[in-house]
Amino acid sequence: MKINASFVKKLLARFIATELSRFGYENGILGLSGGIDSTVAAYLGALALGPDHVIGLIMPYGDTFGRDVDDAEAVASALGIKTRLIDISPSVDAYYTRFATDSRVLKGNKMARERMSILYDFSEREKALIIGTSNKTELLLGYGTLHGDMACAINPMGDLYKTQVRILGGHLGIPDQVLNKTPTAGLWEGQTDEQELGLSYTEIDEILYHMIDKRIPRRELIGQGFEEAKVDRLIHLIKGAEFKRRMPPIAKISERSVGHDFLYPYDWDK
């Protein structure tokens, strides 16, 4: 689980710079929530591209998450990156005026996709490529909104567990109030990731690291002292989220099918 934060920082900054340059972009753009993931991504982006080439979109729903907006602005100001504050409540409320619901999940997903829609719009307006902020823990557990906060052009942190993102954040010197903040997807007021997942990130990442990186089978994990119910809960979440990690299946009926036996690299001649 340990990382050499200095090496990882250098590598991920290099990744961001390489990918943007390949696709002809000088600028990166990302949603800045005031949480640890988007803050670390912003720091890496600023390191890779220079602060003048990073745009942070701060997209609160009304004044629900006032403290997070303050934190996001503090991060942007510390880094010297450009920001734009866009309240998503008018467009989200307009939709729910027509299709009312009490479901917090529906509303949370709608907000995540509203932010995605704005990010892609500004990506084109600002000629800036979207830097993703999902980490490995979220990707494995499917703890993100498909076509919402998971949408991006490149994902520098998708192979780092939340715990490792926190180590990297400490090394990067991100503000303490962000580093030590209780993680939340911001789906509704008072919501926290750990409450919703039923385990702490420390517990989750410890199990995932052994299960995924070290390839230790379920039975052995339990034999090593990991709680059976927790291991099974994570396996259940991982299985249920495969669709979020893949392109949708194409019915393969021709002689050569996209994604199956028509296979070219993403970075093809870039």
């Binding site: 340990k2 050499n4 200095s6 090496f7 290099r14 990744f15 990918e19 690299p265 970075d267 093809w268």
Partner: protein, 294 residues
């Protein structure tokens, strides 16, 4: 290269390792980059310049493999490399199409205006993030051949992680084992390198010492589809001592003086070559293979 009786008492040569980040799927751009580095290596007085695996095409080719395959005898770029090798010897990686229509992950050794050898990768990794056997045909030999410097064996990346294959170059009389690599880095370590870099260096140290031969490993850097190539190209002496190592992240032209007399020195102290018993190994292998069951 200075030979005995010339400027000093030892045959020394300069080996250059071009730790590049090839442009994926664009041989023309890579050819230009090769030429720039050849000029730089020449200016630095290098006798031998080595490029990484698939240096002309990039690594993650998938269906581009067939599109970019060339025949070593007729391809115009290969012909230019052959001509350029009049001034310094060149080792580089490319996709080779043989007359039989099969495509190989190949490495060519040019020197003195001639193609001296083509090695076709035997061990095609096909697990985890690798799928080479899906796109390449498998080579079938590890042949040690003569060069102006030393009897040499070529290997490509995963070939080198099979000590049986290294043994063939040892038994074949190689004084210099050259490994072209496109090794992605995996796993974290406490050093400023991926955990897997240690594995390659461990192999380099071990094989050089126990073969009493130089091991020259040229890896690449850069990203392809998110894979980070782990650099760290190196040269180990025939006594297993690290002579030079390149960055783990950056492009670099590593130029290293190599004293070929170290081969003789090492073999006086470490008589593995003298005591090798290939005929016993051969007979034992035959017995092992004859007992295979599935």
């Amino acid at each position: 290269m200075k030979r005995k009786g010339e400027c000093d008492n030892f045959p020394t040569m300069k080996v250059a390792l071009a730790q590049t980040a090839p442009h994926l799927g664009n041989p023309n751009k890579n050819f230009q980059r090769h030429k720039e580095l050849i000029d730089q290596a020449k200016a630095a007085g290098a006798d031998l310049l080595i490029f990484p695996e698939l240096s002309l095409t990039g690594y993650t080719l998938k269906d581009l493999t067939q599109d970019l395959a060339v025949q070593v005898d007729s391809d115009p770029m290969m012909n230019e490399f052959r001509l350029m090798s009049r001034e310094l010897a060149l080792v580089l990686g490319f996709v080779e199409e043989k007359d039989n229509g099969l495509c190989y992950n190949s490495a060519a050794y040019f020197a003195g205006g001639e193609l001296l050898h083509v090695h076709r990768k035997v061990y095609l990794p096909n697990y985890g993030m690798f799928e080479e056997a899906k796109f390449f045909a498998q080579g079938r030999n590890f042949h040690t051949f003569d060069t102006p410097f030393a009897p040499t064996g070529l290997m490509i990346c995963y070939d080198f992680l099979h000590y049986g294959a290294c043994y063939l170059h040892f038994a074949g009389g190689a004084d210099m084992i050259i490994v072209l690599s496109a090794a992605p880095g995996r796993g974290f370590s406490e050093d400023d390198a991926f955990a897997t870099c240690h594995m390659w260096e461990l192999m380099g140290e071990t094989i050089s010492r126990f073969s009493t031969a130089f091991v020259i490993y040229c890896n690449r850097v850069g990203f392809e589809d998110g894979k980070a190539f782990a650099g760290g190209s190196f040269i180990y002496s025939p006594a297993g001592e690290l002579l030079g190592r390149a960055s783990y992240t950056d492009e670099e032209l590593l130029i290293q003086d190599v004293d070929l007399d170290l081969i003789r020195t090492a073999r006086k102290k470490l008589p593995y070559r003298r005591d090798n018993k290939p005929e016993i190994i051969l007979e034992a292998l035959k017995r092992i293979v004859s007992r295979y069951e599935d």
